[in-house]
């Protein structure tokens, strides 16, 4: 019988380091040895991550495990294999999703319920049960406001959403459902680790100084540091006792360091790299010392010194933001009034984005308590003095450093944007977090991926899948871990002390506090070192108290950190919502106005803006934006199809060909690639090839809606209307809000001269995208063909108002004036148009025609000849015919007749022109 735990740990280790083959191999061995929910899940996860969906699904189906993780993974596999019914029944035992099942799902799936909801929503969307999908998405968002794509899906479904309500954390309960309780905490760390923040840097500094003192990397003279510290404290501290404390604390010998942690030592070199540029502004930090309960100073126990040291340090962090932490601690009291508000984190106004997320980082790192204690407890009595000194030294040292603006928060917050700004390396799902969960949640049921110790066992233990790491891990792991540990240690000490202080101010209890401080550490230590049970028992009570307080504390910190993200998400979501409602101008305004600069410049936000520009028919701007994105991130495929379509509209063959080449060389399995290639050939008028490529796009991803639409448009160009209609309908079935496809259907009907049907479908497209002047122009033309000329004029007026740059609105208005016999208005319109687009031969042709009708033969001839000059290839035979008819004014050319039939210029000349010119808002009509 194998011992599972180390094997599992090894498998997770393989998985986390992308050695999927070995993970599968080991998991298969494990599964043959022991067949349990856990091992099967592990094997399925290995299959899934090595992209063997079928195998994973088959395994889960065959073994039919009922644990929620297995069922969820089974459903996920089934969904990705497009077995929607199977996915549904895997999620919900009774078969089909219904509203009444939602609560059941929440019960059954516990902390992964939000993902189960999202999966349900996706299944429902595929199976055209939009209402259920919306319900599920809303529930998922409620459970986990971090699920951006649930929100994006809601927007795509055309749902009215209240971004402020969605992206906000009302209560800290949310964390239970959106961050996972234990092993899944890597999401948090991901977020925390990605944004290098000030506090964290300070911690690194501290740590470095610690370490450097201990290991003779002396960055500054410890004695001097102490003196400085002392001075500052004396200046700033009203409390005499605290002064005493300080002096008391000052005594330790500089050179003690023998007990230092090995891991600290080992990480020195790593830390050194990052620290130098980091900075602190801790001058202000000393201000808060008066709040520190310093009454314990007289106490001689070294442990207490350590506690106080931790306290000091805490306050130093608090003080970084310059506000008294009591005020800043907004949430703590609300959450647990029992907890003393000794503000781990100041709550600054999150408006500046940076500081909010910054806080988040500290909070996150502070979330995991006490790991350092593991190492330190044994050595506690000996090292305390030294520790204090080194800490102080660190603190002071921090002050001496200058502060470049290092931190950025860009990156992992928006999942589509891999963070390239943060130089400090990958987020780290660190061991500290997991240890912490073990420490106070008593239900440490996670595989410690990095912790192979076999005696961590628990009945409830279940291997949690880690989401595939988005970034590579690097040596920075250690660093971050250490940081966390440091914070945690301090947190703990502080908490312990506070707790005891609250209970009573007697010194007796201070002793207890000290022990409790040791307890928490000892507690965790005991898990590894198997400390004697007696000791643990004695300390249990205190440590439990500590744990509770700490838990509250951490919860509030988490909330604060998440609030920073939520603020950003709210802004992004507002922009996204506006875009999905095609309020593009407002969307651009909002995005550019509210999103912090470093986010605004990220590719994802930029592509949103590019998308807006594209929807505004401002293709030049869109092309500029997408070009920049493509240059900075050549491998980014998102929205490249939009880029290619913009290029198609602008007829930039070279750029489009280059883009198609790039993408084909990169990824032949993405529909985006083939859409781009198809667009390229479509622009070359090689329609057959274009159709071939668009069909390939459909093949590689049948769910990518835009490829259907493009295929349809291409087939319209080759006048294969029936096939085109099929594809447009396929697009509409997959996404009813895909207005391009509705527009395509309208185009087909208009080509078949079924104008009413055409208008109907154009209007459908317009209802989705109300601001699109091109659709309006087409509707106007349809109305014109149906002899609703006034309506047509109104429509075109609206189009011209919405988009003054759209020349076609003016042109068609001019031609309608012409057909109504309002020659002067038509001429005025066209002359204006001539100024905007000076080289359009058709404009000159129409002007010539009007002059001809008015009898201005010379002007007519002039314009005709200009028209010919501008279009020398004679693509429009009618110009030549017009010349001919000028030469023989009595004989009407057949072509002109054919055209004029449509216009019927004499029939409605008596129309009320004033009514026609009213700028009635077209939108209200529909």
């Amino acid at each position: 019988m194998m011992i599972q735990e180390p094997v599992q740990a090894a498998i997770w280790h393989c998985l986390n380091h992308y050695d999927h083959k070995d993970a599968v191999f080991l998991a298969e061995r494990l599964c043959s040895e022991v067949e349990s929910d856990e091992t099967i899940f592990l094997l399925a996860t290995s299959y899934y991550r090595s992209n063997r969906l079928d195998q994973a699904y088959w395994l889960l189906l065959e073994k039919s495990r009922r644990s929620p993780q297995c069922r969820y993974l089974q459903a996920k596999c089934a969904y990705e294999l497009k077995k929607y019914a199977e996915a549904e029944s895997a999620l919900i035992s009774s078969g089909f999703v219904d509203n009444k099942h939602f609560d059941e799902v929440q019960r059954e799936f516990g902390e992964i319920a939000c993902f189960a909801y999202q999966l349900m929503a996706q299944i429902c969307m595929r199976t055209e049960r939009q209402k259920l999908a919306v319900n599920a998405l809303r529930r998922a968002l409620k459970l986990n406001p971090f699920m951006w794509h649930a929100f994006a899906d809601l927007c795509l479904l055309g749902q009215e959403t209240d971004t402020a309500a969605i992206f906000q954390i009302q209560s800290t309960d949310v964390f239970n459902t959106c961050q996972g309780s234990s092993a899944n905490a890597n999401s948090m760390v991901l977020f925390g680790g990605s944004a290098v923040n000030e506090q964290q840097q300070q911690l690194e500094n501290l740590l470095l100084n610690n370490v450097s003192n201990n290991s003779n990397y002396i960055l500054s003279t410890p004695v001097e540091q102490q003196q400085q510290h002392q001075q500052q404290l004396q200046q700033q501290n009203n409390n005499g006792s605290s002064l005493a404390t300080l002096q008391n604390l000052m005594t330790p010998n500089n050179n003690i360091n023998n007990n230092n942690n090995n891991n600290l030592n080992s990480s020195i070199t790593m830390l050194r790299g990052g620290v130098q540029q980091q900075s602190t502004n801790t001058n202000s930090s000393m201000m808060l010392l008066e709040d520190t309960p310093m009454g314990y100073a007289a106490h001689d126990a070294p442990a207490q010194q350590q506690q106080q040291l931790a306290q000091h340090q805490h306050q130093l962090y608090d003080a970084n933001n310059g506000t008294p932490f009591r005020k800043q601690f907004k949430y703590l009291s609300a959450i647990s009034p029992l907890t003393p508000s000794f503000g781990i984190m100041p709550l600054t106004s999150p408006c500046d984005g940076g500081s909010a997320v910054l806080q988040a980082n500290l909070n996150l790192s502070a979330y995991s308590p006490l790991p350092q204690m593991l190492v330190e407890v044994n050595q506690e009595p000996k090292i305390i003095g030294k520790k204090f000194k080194t800490h102080v030294g660190g603190l002071i040292n921090r002050q001496e450093k200058s502060k470049p603006a290092v931190f950025t928060q860009a990156g992992n917050i928006t999942p589509r944007t891999p963070n390239n700004v943060v130089g400090n390396g990958p987020p780290n799902p660190n061991a500290a977090v997991r240890r912490s969960s073990r420490l106070f949640s008593n239900s440490a049921y996670s595989v410690k991926e990095n912790n192979k110790s076999p005696n961590i066992t628990n009945n409830n233990k279940f291997v949690q899948p880690r989401s595939p790491p988005r970034k590579t891990k690097s040596s920075r792991m250690t660093k971050i871990c250490l940081n966390n540990e440091l914070i945690e240690e301090k947190t703990h000490h502080h908490l312990a002390e506070k707790l005891s202080e609250k209970q009573s101010r007697k010194e007796k209890e201070k002793v207890e506090t000290i022990t409790s401080g040791a307890t928490a550490g000892g507690n965790s230590q005991s898990t590894i070192n198997n400390r004697s049970a007696e000791e643990a028992k004695v300390l249990l009570n205190n440590s439990l108290n500590n744990a509770q307080t700490l838990a509250h504390q951490l919860l509030s910190m988490k909330k604060q950190s998440a609030d920073g993200l939520m603020l950003l998400l709210r802004d992004l979501a507002e922009g996204y919502k506006l875009l999905s409602a095609f309020q593009c101008k407002a969307a651009i305004m909002h995005l550019e106005g509210t999103i912090p600069k470093h986010h605004l410049s990220s590719s994802w936000v930029q592509s949103l803006i590019g998308m807006c520009r594209y929807e505004l028919r401002d293709y030049e701007a869109a092309v500029l934006i997408f070009k920049r994105i493509h240059e900075t991130e050549p491998c980014r495929l998102d929205y490249m199809e939009i880029y290619s379509t913009s290029l198609w509209h602008l007829q930039k063959e070279v750029a489009l060909s280059a883009l198609a080449q790039d993408l084909i060389a990169q990824d032949k399995r993405s529909p985006v690639t083939w859409c781009v290639a198809g667009n390229c050939f479509s622009l070359h008028k090689e329609h057959e090839t274009a159709i071939k490529f668009f069909k390939r796009a459909v093949q590689v991803d049948p769910d990518f809606v835009y490829s259907y639409t493009l295929l349809g448009h291409e087939l319209v160009l080759t006048e294969e209307f029936d096939k085109a209609m099929d594809y447009f309908r396929a697009a509409v079935v997959r996404d009813p809000r895909h207005y391009n496809a509705w527009f395509g259907i309208g185009t087909i009907y208009s080509k078949q001269e079924k104008y009413e049907l055409a208008e109907l479908h154009y209007v459908k497209a317009l209802k989705i995208n109300t601001q699109n002047s091109v659709i309006l122009v087409h509707i106007g033309a349809m109305q014109f063909f149906m002899q609703k000329k006034d309506l047509a004029l109104q429509t075109l007026n609206t189009a011209a108002t919405i988009d003054p740059k759209n020349p076609l609105a003016r042109f068609h208005r001019g031609s309608i004036y012409f057909s109504l016999g309002k020659y002067q208005e038509a001429l005025r319109e066209l002359e204006e148009l001539k100024e905007i687009v000076p080289k359009e031969s058709v404009v000159f042709y129409l002007i010539g025609k009007i002059h001809k009708t008015l009898g201005n033969m010379d002007l007519a001839l002039m314009h005709f000849s200009w028209a010919t000059d501008l279009d020398p290839k004679g693509a429009n035979n009618q110009i030549k015919d017009a010349f001919d008819s000028m030469a023989h004014p009595n004989c009407c050319p057949p072509n002109d007749n054919a055209l004029d039939v449509d216009f019927d210029p004499t029939s409605e000349r008596s129309d009320d022109s004033t009514q026609a010119q009213q700028d009635v808002s077209y939108d209200s009509d529909y």
């Binding site: 008028k685 057959e688 493009l710 035979n877």
Partner: protein, 197 residues
């Protein structure tokens, strides 16, 4: 099967080797519709069949295997506007296999084919454009076209044809795209607003 050949209606062929049907297609005036049709041959040597006619490779050819006349039948699923046919032949390579007289016929099926024109080729080398006209109109709406090789150079029996392309006019006469009543827009400024996709 085929209509009788009217010797008098022989038309002068437009033989120019520089002509490239693709160029015209790219300009957007015409488009290739041969791919929508069903193609059949009167005969072929194994391995030199109809697919060689449509593979866009000038080095491959269709070779007939039987009695003159050799026929290429192009049947459309629906009535289709045809404005030109392009045939690629190469006298230097094919010599006595090169067709010298070609007849173009159209109809609704094999039984009602009417000859449109007969073209004489003299040592053609490259694309031969054959405009299809229906009276005054520069295109013909038809279900079926038949290209018949009546004779070859040097009295050759079998024939080689390397490529055939069939062109339909884009938005031809009377079939304007509704929003381009006055002809196609020439500038990008106009065209980019002409549609969405």
């Amino acid at each position: 099967m085929a209509a009788t050949i009217d010797e008098e209606s022989t038309a002068k062929p437009a033989v120019t080797s520089e002509e490239d049907p693709l160029a015209e297609e790219r300009l957007g005036y015409v488009r290739e519709v041969g791919s929508q049709a069903v193609w059949s041959l009167s005969s072929c040597k194994p391995g030199f069949g109809v697919e060689r006619l449509r593979d866009n490779i000038m080095d491959t050819y269709w070779q007939s295997d039987g009695q003159l006349p050799h026929l290429v039948n192009i049947q459309f699923h629906k009535r289709t506007n045809i404005s030109q046919i392009y045939i690629y032949t190469d006298y230097k390579l094919d010599e006595s296999y090169t067709p010298s007289r070609i007849s173009i016929r159209s109809g609704t099926n094999f039984n009602d084919l009417q000859e449109l024109q007969v073209i004489d080729l003299t040592e053609p080398n490259g694309w031969v454009q054959i405009p299809i006209k229906d009276g005054n109109v520069k295109s013909l709406r038809t279900f079926m076209l038949q290209i018949a090789v009546i004779s070859n150079h040097q009295n050759g029996r079998d024939t080689h044809m390397r490529q055939i392309r069939v062109h339909a006019p884009c938005g031809g006469e009377g079939k304007h795209y509704p929003l381009e009543l006055f002809g196609k827009f020439g500038t990008v400024d106009f065209q980019k607003f002409a549609t969405i996709r």
